[in-house]
């Protein structure tokens, strides 16, 4: 790999041991990828949350993050050397207020507080969300980023036209320290072009429809770049957030085009550049039905005891929608309702009275985490309902529960009646 003078200086240790180890990791990683060089980035999103058993084993945040986030057995001082690029922490593993009902111990909680303090002292912004683009980190078209979190990667690549691959823990931490990431994959023009054409032949309108289309697209194209043709009704941020998260879960989609809507293609031809689609697919009633059945394949029992919203984290508009449906109602006695949002939006929800509406109904508005990432569910629950394709895909695997996937309205109905009465219309 060709290195610039400033990159060589970091590799030679002229900017301290932490940056040296970070650059060493990036060189090894870039060579593994087959990248020719690195690219500057000033927008990094990573995951630096210590696990308790690793802390017990390694003894300090420096030792733990040197090993697991820089692949360095030598202990270097991440926080003391501070990040070079603007950096943010994605989701953590617990809510700072409701950790007890999430099943976390006092020790877990104290470790989380110390972890936050460590990151803050190193200069990492404590966004604590899978959706930094909802709370002020909105990359512009062409901006080179180094983000993890698949649902955020696919959103900023496609909707905004920013450029990132789905990074891992150590590559994103190395990017924080150096402001560099391998110039490979979606950083390069030609890799951003469409590969598969999907002709949409049925109505795709509400959030559930968009989740189903995303789940189908990911299943069919895996990690390639689908181009969605035939959308008649303009979606919005919420619907595209659901679409991308579902496509990244069922496949590994990190980039897509909806000509005329997403950032980089006005027409189908522009989405493919001068190339032909490698495959032409259709999304009609049959494919929609298949996606619905796949997402609901774990669900048998219509007695719902858990309703979950906010995967990816809910925007304030989504919270408003939930509140409109929920206001003045009470949850069924056997049902738990949890809504997840970025901590930055929780303040708005509190001041708007949304939190109170959710609480009065018997639900809880949480931030910072989610059941899949924090590996928790309400005690004793067996059957979940959610409007998130991603959570319906992952949580049955992780926690062995059943999951119903449907519209926001169907999920609120389940929360209030304790029964799943949804279905594909």
């Amino acid at each position: 790999m060709r290195l610039t003078d400033d990159e060589k200086a970091m590799l030679d240790g002229k900017e301290g041991r932490a940056r040296q180890k970070a650059m060493d990791l990036l060189v090894r990683y870039g060579e593994a990828l087959g990248a020719e060089r690195l690219v500057d980035t000033n927008n990094v999103g990573g995951f630096m949350v210590a696990k308790k058993h690793h802390m017990d084993e390694l003894g300090s945040f420096d030792a733990l993050f040197s090993e697991f986030n820089l692949d360095s057995s030598e202990v270097v001082e991440f926080a003391k050397d501070k990040v070079k690029a603007f950096s943010c922490q994605f989701e953590t593993t617990m809510d700072p207020e409701f950790w007890q009902i999430q099943g976390k111990s006092q020790e877990d909680y104290e470790l989380m507080l110390a972890n936050e303090k460590y990151l803050a002292s190193g200069g990492v912004a404590l966004m604590c969300t899978c959706t930094p683009y909802l709370v002020g980190n909105v990359p512009i078209k062409g901006e080179h980023c180094a983000w993890m979190e698949s649902s955020a990667v696919v959103y900023i690549n496609s909707v905004l036209g920013a450029r990132t691959n789905a990074e891992g823990n150590s590559s994103s931490t190395a990017a924080m320290l150096t402001g560099k990431i391998p110039y490979w994959g979606f950083h390069i023009d030609e890799n951003r072009l469409g590969t598969h054409l999907i002709d949409v032949e049925c109505a795709v309108e509400n959030q559930m429809d968009w989740g189903l289309l995303g789940y189908y697209a990911g299943t069919m194209v895996k990690e390639r770049v689908p181009v969605i043709n035939g959308i008649k009704k303009l979606p919005n941020l919420i619907k595209l957030k659901q679409f991308g998260a579902a496509a990244a879960s069922s496949g590994g989609v990190e980039m897509y085009h909806i000509p005329g809507i997403t950032a980089e293609a006005r027409t189908v031809e522009e989405a493919f550049g001068n190339r032909q689609p490698v495959e032409r697919l259709r999304f009609g009633k049959e494919e929609r039905q298949m996606a619905y059945e796949a997402l609901n394949s774990t669900a048998k029992d219509t007695n719902v005891d858990f309703v979950m919203f906010g995967c990816p984290h809910a925007s304030i508009e989504e919270i408003w929608e939930i509140c409109k449906l929920l206001e003045g109602k009470r949850l069924h006695e056997n049902t738990v309702l949890w809504v997840f949002t970025p901590r930055g939006l929780r303040e708005i929800a509190d001041r708007n009275g949304f939190t109170k509406i959710i609480n009065d109904a018997g639900g809880v508005l949480m931030s910072d985490t989610c059941p899949a990432l924090g590996q928790f569910i309400p005690k004793g629950i067996k059957v979940m309902a959610t409007n998130s394709g991603k959570q319906a895909h992952y949580l049955p695997n992780i926690k062995g529960i059943q999951a119903w996937y449907g519209t926001t309205e169907e999920c609120i109905d389940a929360a209030v009646t304790g029964q799943w009465r949804g279905g594909l219309k």
Partner: protein
Amino acid sequence: MKTVVLHGRKVVGGVVEGEALVTTEMVSGWGGINPADGKIIDVRHELHGQSVKGKILVFPGAKGSSGWSSLFHYTRRNGNAPSGLIFNVMNTKAALGSVVIHAPAVTGLNQNPLEIIQSGDWVKIDADQGIVEVTKK
């Protein structure tokens, strides 16, 4: 015994030999492998219940969460990682995962390793030279 030689490119350098564990299915990290014993825990995977520990893992590529490299990093720290990697599809998960596993790894072979190599074959990887030598069992 029949021997086949394949040529590709280095992902992570080094020389190693061992028994192959082959799958034609993409491998998940997060929710896919248990670092405590190196076993594949993805219930839908054909290698479910088998351990990658000490094996030359031959697979199409890495899929799933961006936590892939971390899970394999934990697996390596526990002494349960594969001793070598051979795969077809390059992506950030497979590249970073290979780096943190610290085992010789190659990709881009001139013949499809998933067709040439079977579980139980003896495989030698010289990653620096990009050479894979397969001795059929």
